[in-house]
Amino acid sequence: MTALRVEDVHGGYGGTDILNGVSLAVDPGEVVVVIGPNGAGKSTLMRAIFGLIGVHRGRITVDGRNIAGLRPDQVSGLGLGYVPQDDNTFAGMTVGENLEMGAFLRPEHTARRMAAVFDLFPRLAERSHQRVGTMSGGERQMVALGRALMTEPKLLLLDEPTAGLAPDLAAETFERIRAVNSQGVGILMVEQNARQALAIADRGVVMVMGRDRHTDTGPALLADPEVASLFLGG
């Protein structure tokens, strides 16, 4: 059980800041969904949490410990998993090798975790020797999620896990995410399919121009007319 707090974080890629004082919280076992227009800094926020870009103001804490300034491999070691929006697999490696890399910090658990991931995605078990670069977008997304689950994370960061998926596959993915969450894994998820994502969320955050504009329960955001007109397609 892990709690994440992002407090007044400022940062970016070196030029002007992309994050301009964003705050949010994920309590243990919660699903928190971040929505917002393209370029709002949602992916940048994920990267900041994972130590991939510098944070020069504000705090990011995991169970009270400030993690701003840690390297990505150290953040991973704290029990956080992360599926980036793009390039989220090792395309030149096989499905099995991708999953093995997921358990890099806990090689002794590889076999047990791989069995758990294959339970969740039986399709991957059949394909374990296939090179990921030769697979379809939907299958690659399963590999990406599977890799992140190999560490047995307590908190999972998902950046648009259903992007580019057909509606039935997207629905299936949300189902899987819900199943993972039901085992106590906290989820912080950026989503464009806002309506479906908010439906499984404990809380939603609307992010605009590098800041959290609204934070509310999933149903409340779904009912908010402004949010509806901007992000839910009317």
Partner: protein, 286 residues
């Protein structure tokens, strides 16, 4: 026909040497994303390190080889710590230029310590084996067998060990490797150890095949890069195919054109292959 077979033998020998150099260039490019221009001179450093063991300690060349590999690995790691690491946050172009500078420094250092004269490990001529009309030197067998053993060892390292897998993962997708828990600096360290050690082996084999001279590795830089690019730079397995292709092409070319044009052959082969297969023989990253 016998002439062609003879040239093929020379080509495979040269190809083995080029392969060992090109694997390092390819690994370094895959992990650090820059073209390491000091790699030829790393080969020279390795060749002379073996000379120290042979001349001073009286060791046979095959026993000097592991020592030379260890010495070159240490030199490569030291150069990385002192020169390349502080520059890593700048740009690949600055790293490339600084490696060019390092090449000059290494070459001058070798010349300063050992002088500009030609040297050999063991003086005298050894009678080659005669198979049909083809002559095969003992050293040729040692070189090819040595390269095969090292390539197999590297293969097992990359496929079976945790560090080797981390290295492949990082060459594939550096950011995702870090997210998965890979400590970049550790992988970089191993990259230099392997790149340096294999460069030393290439250098020792080259000196065994020809002679020792401060510019012996520098003259190999173009064909080594040709081999790495041909195999798809960043793909160590491609370097094997690339090395053998360039080695054989260079030696076969001497049947029809003067040997001084050998480097031009390396160049011509990359141009042709890159037109047909822009990502190299095994399709590395563009």
């Amino acid at each position: 026909m016998a002439d062609i077979l003879q040239l093929l033998v020379y080509g495979v020998v040269l190809g083995s040497i080029l392969t060992l150099g090109a694997i390092g260039v390819s690994l370094i490019y895959g992990i650090l994303r820059f073209a390491h221009f000091a790699h030829g001179d790393m080969m020279t450093v390795g060749a002379y390190a073996a000379l120290v063991a042979v001349a001073a300690a009286g060791l046979p060349v095959y026993a000097a080889l592991p020592l030379a590999m260890a010495a070159a690995a240490a030199v490569a790691v030291a150069i990385d710590r002192i020169v390349y690491r502080p520059l890593r946050r700048t740009s690949p172009m600055i790293l490339l230029i600084s490696s060019f500078g390092m090449a000059l420094v290494l070459r001058s250092a070798v010349q300063l310590v050992w002088g500009p004269a030609n040297r050999v490990y063991v003086p005298g001529i050894r009678v080659p084996y005669q198979v049909a009309d083809v002559r095969i030197g003992v050293d040729h067998l040692v070189i090819v067998a040595g390269a095969v053993v090292l390539v197999i060892a590297l293969h097992l390292f990359l496929r079976r060990t945790r560090t080797g897998k981390a290295m492949r993962a990082m060459a594939d997708n550096a950011e995702l490797a870090r997210i998965s828990g890979v400590d970049t600096e550790r992988v970089v360290l191993w990259t230099w150890v392997i790149g340096g050690a294999l460069a030393a082996a290439a250098g020792v084999f080259l000196a065994l095949d020809t002679r020792l001279h401060p510019t012996v590795g520098w003259h190999m830089l173009l064909p080594v890069f040709a081999a790495a690019i041909l195999g798809g730079i960043g793909k160590p397995y491609g370097a094997i195919a690339g090395g053998l292709t360039i080695g054989v092409a260079q030696e076969l070319s001497t049947a029809v054109i003067a040997p001084v044009y050998k480097p031009a052959v390396a160049f011509a082969v990359i141009v042709v292959v890159l037109i047909v297969r822009p990502r190299g023989l095994l399709g590395g990253r563009g």
